[in-house]
């Protein structure tokens, strides 16, 4: 488990800052791959999905600025990923000999399936926010506070070992954990808006 120091991309998107496709790829690839699993795509298809989503969003340019008038980025991304995933499934069907040749779209899916897919996306997005929030947290607290939190809470090191390593009291380790979690909750709330 390693943490980068770059500010969270989602916070840049929220602020309307320009983002590069490289940052987007690095940050959103795991989320898109995970989403591909919801549509039962193969590993190769999931990779293709990542490519198509990045190309669609960046429209063959290397930077992108999200227009907040389009609504929440979360919904915007979900729509693009879902449509591309369905396109890939459709392509798979047309490439195989099958009696089921009817084309389908998300609108043709039963409500229960759509509800399940939406629930999965909500959970995946929540996980994405947590990972992004963690990166943001690192930029908002003192290095020693984050280190205490990382070692004790995230890497499960014994409190005595963390305290000794950082030359602080065990109580300071617990205080760091408490502060980091509270700050993280606030960051996630802000990112959700």
């Amino acid at each position: 488990m390693t943490f980068t120091t770059r500010a969270s991309l989602i916070s840049k998107i929220c602020k309307g800052d320009e983002i590069s496709w490289q940052d987007f790829y690095q940050t959103y690839r795991p989320l898109i791959l995970l989403r591909g699993g919801d549509f039962f795509l193969s590993d190769d298809e999931k990779e293709e999905l990542v490519q198509q989503v990045v190309i669609d969003i960046f429209k063959r340019t290397d930077a992108f600025k999200y227009d907040r008038k389009k609504g929440k980025f979360r919904s915007y991304l979900k729509t693009i990923v879902s449509h591309k995933a369905i396109d890939l499934k459709r392509m798979r069907k047309s490439n195989t000999v099958s009696v089921e040749t009817d084309e389908f779209s998300i609108d043709d899916m039963p409500d229960t399936d759509v509800a399940i897919l939406n629930k999965c996306w909500d959970e995946e997005w929540q996980m994405h926010l947590m990972v992004q929030g963690l990166e943001e947290l690192k930029t908002q607290v003192k290095p020693i506070t984050f280190q205490a939190f990382e070692l004790y809470a995230l890497k499960d090191q014994a409190v005595e070992d963390v305290a000794k390593f950082l030359d602080i009291s065990p109580n300071a380790v617990f205080v760091a954990k408490s502060r980091c979690v509270e700050r993280l909750q606030k960051i996630i709330r802000d990112l959700e808006e």
Partner: protein, 80 residues
């Protein structure tokens, strides 16, 4: 009434307190809303940390493998 500290309640929560100390703490908690509130907060924090670990394990974006590089290189050619 002497209240328990954040450190003591964290130790209590991780089940690393001696049996006697744990019994004393439990008795205190049954009568102290202030310490109960702090313990509830510690438990809530632990739940969030568990979610955080799961999220990081699932969506670790720092992992770079052959597929990552292949895909990155293809995109580099297209998005110039």
């Amino acid at each position: 009434m002497k209240h328990y500290t954040l450190e003591e309640l964290n130790v209590y929560n991780t089940d690393k307190m001696s049996l006697t100390a744990k019994m004393e703490c439990s008795t205190h908690l049954s009568n102290c809303s202030e310490c109960n509130a702090l313990l509830a907060q510690i438990k809530a924090h632990e739940r969030l940390i568990a979610q955080l670990k799961k999220s990081w394990a699932t969506l670790d974006s720092s992992h770079v493998d052959e597929r990552w590089e292949q895909s990155y290189n293809q995109l580099s050619k297209i998005l110039k």
